[in-house]
Symmetry: C2
């Protein structure tokens, strides 16, 4: 069933039917509108998005790129990504758009895939600086980044510096002085910024961070278990540890447990993200909370502002973070 069929059945031209469908009612008489609408609903007709997209050069599709962190368990390896995705889908659907998802391969592939579809907007989750720069140069459609540190893009992130700062400050206030830091080692970007905040909080107290307390670990559970064991047997004993993700914290707690240490009695743990999972763990995890819904909504706002105004936006929203206090930290 096509526009043409409807037009024939109603005895009018396709232009008229098109006008009715698109609400250009000023061009059509009341009776004609009613007649056409009746035929449309009787036949359960829906216009072809493909044809419409072809001529209007807009697709109502938003492409979303999820970093494929793990070979073995693509995007769900990070529940954080899922949370974001979920809210984005919600936002995009409410705008009357469709969401197309890709986990990354090479940058080139993504562009190819999405640009063939004439997508109206692009959202990149956790892209690296270099990817962002490549995309910035080559893509002309509205693009919003989440958690990417790069110049000249529209980014929505969190106040990473404050996240690191607050985590350390919280532990200091609880009487801790010997604090470890667990996470990937980087020189710039999200983690490095958090680390800077963390160190500055220590410095304010006249403490110096000792680099052998930097427990290197990817943000996966298994890495955390290893890191937890390492932490348990650290020569330079610590009474607390700040972890760069909740999942990592869960792993570290497990590793500590396996090494015979209790959380928080023997050692305190602070996570990062505040995933729903924090409530499932035992002890429930005290963590640096980022408002994921807010991030998704901000990203949506930004993207559709760019789409609707047809003007690029360059900005860097930093959503505030706060400590979500649960039961994994002991008052010394």
């Amino acid at each position: 069933m096509t526009l043409k069929d409807i037009a024939k059945e109603a005895g009018v031209s396709t232009a008229t039917v098109s006008n009715v469908i698109n609400g250009n009612h000023h061009k059509v008489s009341k009776e004609t509108i009613d007649k056409i609408q009746k035929i449309i609903s009787e036949n359960d007709y829906t216009p072809s998005a493909t044809a419409r997209s072809l001529i209007k050069k807009e697709s109502k599709i938003i492409g979303v790129v999820v970093p494929n962190l793990s070979e073995h368990d693509p995007f769900s390896s990070s529940p954080y990504n899922t949370q974001i995705l979920s809210w984005l889908e919600n936002y995009i659907r409410n705008q009357g758009y469709y969401m197309m998802i890709r986990t990354v391969g090479r940058c080139q592939d993504i562009l190819q895939a999405f640009l063939t579809w004439n997508i109206d907007g692009l959202i990149l989750l956790g892209a690296f600086k270099e990817e962002a720069e490549e995309i910035r140069e080559r893509v002309k459609i509205p693009t919003v980044y989440l958690d990417t540190y790069a110049e000249g893009i529209a980014n929505v992130g969190i106040d990473d510096y404050m996240g690191g700062y607050l985590a350390a400050k919280y532990l200091l206030n609880k009487g801790h002085r010997d604090i470890a830091f667990a996470g990937p080692v980087t020189t710039e970007g999200v983690i490095a910024t958090r680390f800077k905040g963390f160190c500055d909080a220590l410095n304010e107290k006249g403490l110096e961070f000792n680099n052998n307390r930097y427990v290197e670990a990817m943000t996966f559970f298994e890495d955390g278990v290893k890191a937890g064991k390492k932490l348990a047997f650290l020569k330079d004993k610590c009474t607390a540890c700040v972890c760069m993700s909740d999942i990592l914290a869960f792993g570290i707690m497990e590793g500590l447990r396996l090494s015979g240490l209790r959380v928080p009695e023997d050692i305190s743990v602070v996570g990062f993200d505040n995933l729903p999972e924090c409530k499932y763990s035992n002890p429930q995890l005290t963590t640096v909370s980022q408002n994921i819904k807010k991030k998704a909504c901000l990203a949506g706002d930004l993207l559709f502002e760019m789409i609707n105004s047809k003007k690029p936006v360059i900005c860097n929203h930093q959503v505030t973070v706060e400590i979500e206090e649960r039961f994994s930290v002991k008052q010394l």
Copy 2:
């Protein structure tokens, strides 16, 4: 940059360019092929999926429908859905297709949304019987269901009966006799089938399930907490509980803890799904494990078989389940 532009630059017709792009090389001389490919790569040209889709009447898009369980936290409210989604994306991408995601509104909306896009296939996660039946009647494109009990569809599920049976059997073998069952109350479908298996295992041992041990709860954490408290103060004391999802089990463990009971010392808990989160909890959760990757792959196989053979398939795959033993059950 369009096909026409490429053709003009190469001094050939669009048909020839099209043939080169689509690998119909038998119609084109080697030199022409090289010349055209050079121009294509120099100009970074990608054919418009929209135009191609319009004339070929196939889109290379697979629509995936995720049940919107919670108003507040759409599909991530169930990490299970995410897991499935993640593997499906993987499968779909490897087939050279694109994945479009929608969380459900009304059945009508979904169909509308997807059919306008001329999608080549549809995957429904956890649809109800009635929805499945409506879609079965109204949609002619290849459709695969996950975890849906309905006639005349291509379904991929698990052996729910055996899941319930094994959970009970496992606890019985550990010496438990007073076992509760926690989950939504239903008369047919996934949960009802598991419950039947559960009861049959008890009956085999000469035990009768007492209905006041059916702790009604949705499969959310907060519901679980309430259910755990109820369970703790059940007059008809139980030593173990089988829960209809891992998330529910986490909630129940928390509810029990808040009521002063220890898991597994005072009461044992068995979950269902075997999400990665089971390793994060303390005690780590013993659960009925379903192979999510396998389900996703089977669903993919089925869908693409239907797409490629252009023949509908009616079947009901039941992936086997097994107990994943961890530390939430005590030997009596």
